[in-house]
């Protein structure tokens, strides 16, 4: 993992999440912005996936359990597409909040992944 990229990812996911939760409760249906932001979060996860595959070849290895890291990463990658599909099928305000919940979950999961990679003592 590359630390600055992790923080970019967390900030984007958190901002996208909080925004979607707020506009969702305000009554906004899933639109190009909230769906697009969730897809951006997914795209960054895909980049993270590629980076996590090649990073060990450059000596950048997880200090914690690689298996736990991958369980988090694979679980995280499943979440945004599920939320986007939900948003496309059911077009009401609650789907926007669901998009927000998905993005916030990713922010937390990426933070946990960074802990496993950088500071885990196990």
């Amino acid at each position: 993992m590359v630390e600055w990229f992790v923080w970019v990812q967390i900030v984007i996911a958190a901002v996208a999440g909080v925004t979607a939760v707020i506009v969702g409760f305000a009554g906004v249906k899933p639109n190009d912005y909230t769906l697009g932001a969730t897809l951006l979060v997914e795209a960054l996860l895909a980049v993270q996936l590629v980076m996590a595959v090649i990073a060990p070849a450059f000596g950048n290895v997880a200090t914690g359990s690689a298996l736990e890291f991958w369980i988090y990463l694979v679980s995280a990658i499943l979440i945004p597409p599920a939320a986007v599909m939900w948003g496309l099928i059911e077009r009401n305000r609650w789907s926007t909040v669901v998009l927000g919940v998905a993005c916030l979950s990713i922010a937390v999961m990426v933070y946990r992944m960074s802990q496993i990679w950088f500071v885990q003592l196990a």
Binding site: E90, V98, V101
Partner: protein, 137 residues
Amino acid sequence: MTSKISSTASGVGRVLIAIYAVMALGATARSVFQIATKFSEAPLAYVLSALAGLVYIVATVALVRSGRRWFRVALVAIAFELVGVVTIGTLSVVDAVLFPADTVWSSFGAGYLFVPLALPILGLLWLYRVRSSQENR
């Protein structure tokens, strides 16, 4: 109950289901990892962790499905979670050896931003609202 959408899955209940689904995925995946790699360190805690994950799955399904029976299943599952997080949360503070810090209910779910503590309370409030709105019909 003839409507296609169950009453517990309507409106803000949708959001509750999404959070339950994420917690079900997170807690179950993590406990599978823990049981597979370090079960002997804290067997009781990891088994309870897996149980918590399964209960999240049950709660997610029960909230999605409609009907009186599923409503009751959701009620039991969510109440179980509240008892679990309060009991294990307290035990983890009192006896840190028996319950290490990395299970879903430890320290009242602090490792999951206290979502495990907040979720069953919100869930019970939601079920109560759904039931009272049905009785008024």
